[in-house]
């Protein structure tokens, strides 16, 4: 076994924060993704423009730049707002955890938009027509027919997003969130064994990836139960 000089606990502490950030981001990204997909497929040109701009901008800019932009930009904006309200210079600090969840949610919401859009289009048109023939309104057909089936088509794409997202949480170390990478960094500097510690951290990320892949495969099998396969 690798000798971590009694600093094994940093991995455990960091892992908890990494998983919390990742899991907390999922609902934000899913919500934004559904909204974005709705906007992209909407008949309303304004909604289409907003959703299109959102995914274009987010997917064209590196995550690191977006994280720094949102984190420092949000801090500055809140600071200006606070000093405008209170009338004096005031300092605002956004805690890194919510800042990280908001930023990652914004980024992966754009990718989820594309996944949901594809999944929506993958649902058989004939079924929607059939729902209309039964007299269902668009919203009812969406709730009863499209949404339950969308998940099955969206699951592989969302699974991939989760794998990318959990690795992207390492970028949160740059805004001082004490997640796995940041904790490893601190310990590696203290003990002066950078290779040992970063390698240990990389094995933990690898383990998360392996477990996620197994769980996702099971989820896909579960979602596809009852579907005939050629």
């Amino acid at each position: 076994m690798i000798d971590f000089k009694g600093y094994e606990w940093v991995f455990w502490e960091g892992l908890q924060v990494t998983l919390s950030v990742g899991l907390a981001t999922i609902p934000v990204a899913l919500l934004l993704g559904l909204l974005g997909a709705w906007g992209k497929l909407s008949r309303n040109p304004v909604a289409r423009l907003v959703a299109g701009t959102y995914t274009t901008v987010v997917r064209g800019i590196p995550e690191l730049v977006l994280i720094l932009l949102v984190y420092f930009g949000l801090t500055l904006a809140l600071q200006d707002l606070a000093s405008w309200i209170e009338g004096g210079a005031s300092t605002v600090d956004i805690p890194p955890f919510p800042a990280g969840v908001i930023t990652l949610g914004l980024i992966y919401g754009a990718f989820a938009t594309e996944v949901f859009r594809g999944a929506f289009l993958a649902v058989d048109r004939g079924q929607i027509e059939a729902a209309q023939a039964f007299g269902m309104r668009r919203s009812l057909a969406l709730r009863r027919i499209v949404l339950p089936q969308m998940w099955r088509f969206a699951l592989p794409g969302l699974g991939n997003l989760w794998l990318v997202l959990i690795k992207a949480t390492s970028l949160m170390s740059i805004i001082q969130l004490p997640e796995l990478m940041r904790m490893t960094d601190v310990a590696a500097r203290a003990v002066r064994l950078p290779f040992t510690f970063y390698f240990g951290a990389s094995l933990i990320y690898l383990t998360i990836t392996i477990i996620s892949i197994v769980v996702l495969q099971r989820a896909e099998r579960w979602a596809n139960r009852g579907i005939r396969r050629a």
């Binding site: 794409g157 002066r192 970063y198 990320y205």
Partner: protein, 280 residues
């Protein structure tokens, strides 16, 4: 600017004529911008630095993609090989570099090398290589994109219809000729859309080299912000620059894709506007 310093050291013409001309042009634009928008704009004030940063970003992308592609084809072939001595190392390499964050890989190579200074010195890899953030960045980006590209190429090779391979075998082709004439050209077409995404991804991923002190576009931005505190202006300018280059890369590869797929288009489609695919 590792590439520039290499050129400067070895080609006098470059040092005496090209570099000063480029610098002069850049300074001219910077002066123009300053007089246009005034001293208040951090971007106009440090325009030359931003140009150098963007150059480093593009240089790292081109190096990583070019070298990574050269490595990726043999790794993909090894991954598909029936020989377990080839297959398992390729699988392990690809799994490790695809399953861990790039940031960890960069730290592992750049800071991690510091743990083995004596060993690296004894083989002569310390002073000219692992000590320099630039080479560590290139090495990490190459390893990372090799792993991802190999997976894409593997998918492309598996996507070649078996009938085509059978037909080629019936013509008596085998081994290298079968790969070179039938499998690889077809696999390239199958894999191209996914590979396009990988190039854009690695272009954006180069922004991570700023955390190991390199002054790429993101590194310059952080430097300028810490000098001027003009956070919004600088990040929006840099973000838009990344955005433009990302979509230029996408556009270039779309053109290439259309060229490679020419034989599949009917004549009427060739002249009409191509359908844009938004598939991630």
């Amino acid at each position: 600017m590792a590439l520039f310093s290499l050129l400067e050291r070895n080609i006098p013409f470059f040092r005496d004529t090209v570099r000063p001309a480029l610098d002069g042009a850049c300074d001219g634009v910077q002066e123009g911008l300053r007089s246009l928008v005034g001293e208040k704009s951090a971007v106009a004030f440090r325009f030359c630095d931003f140009v150098e940063g963007a150059w480093l970003t593009i240089e790292l992308t081109v190096l990583a993609v070019a070298i990574g592609f050269l490595f990726a084809v043999p790794v993909a072939l090894a991954r598909l090989s029936r020989n377990p001595l080839l297959r398992w190392p390729a699988f392990g390499f690809m799994f490790y570099f695809r399953g861990t964050p790039l940031l960890v890989q960069i730290f592992l190579i750049y800071y991690g090398a510091g743990q083995f200074v004596a060993e690296l010195k004894s083989v002569g890899l310390w002073d000219g290589f692992f000590r320099e953030a630039y080479f560590c960045a290139v090495l990490t980006l190459v390893l990372n994109t090799t792993a991802y590209s190999a997976e894409i190429i593997r998918g492309g090779i598996l996507g070649v219809p078996f009938g085509e391979i059978e037909a080629a075998r019936a013509y008596g082709m085998s081994g290298v000729k079968l790969y070179w004439r039938i499998i690889l050209p077809k696999a390239a077409r199958v894999a191209l859309p996914a590979y396009t995404n990988e190039v854009v991804f690695i272009f954006q991923a180069t922004s991570l080299v700023s955390v190991i002190t390199l002054l790429d576009l993101t590194g310059i931005a952080r430097d300028v912000i810490s000098d001027t505190f003009r956070t919004f202006e600088v990040w929006i300018f840099v973000g838009l620059t990344y955005l433009c280059i990302s979509y230029l890369i996408l556009y270039g590869f779309k053109r290439l894709e259309r060229r490679l797929m020419r034989h599949l288009q009917r004549h009427s489609e060739r002249t009409s506007v191509p359908r844009v695919s938004h598939a991630g």
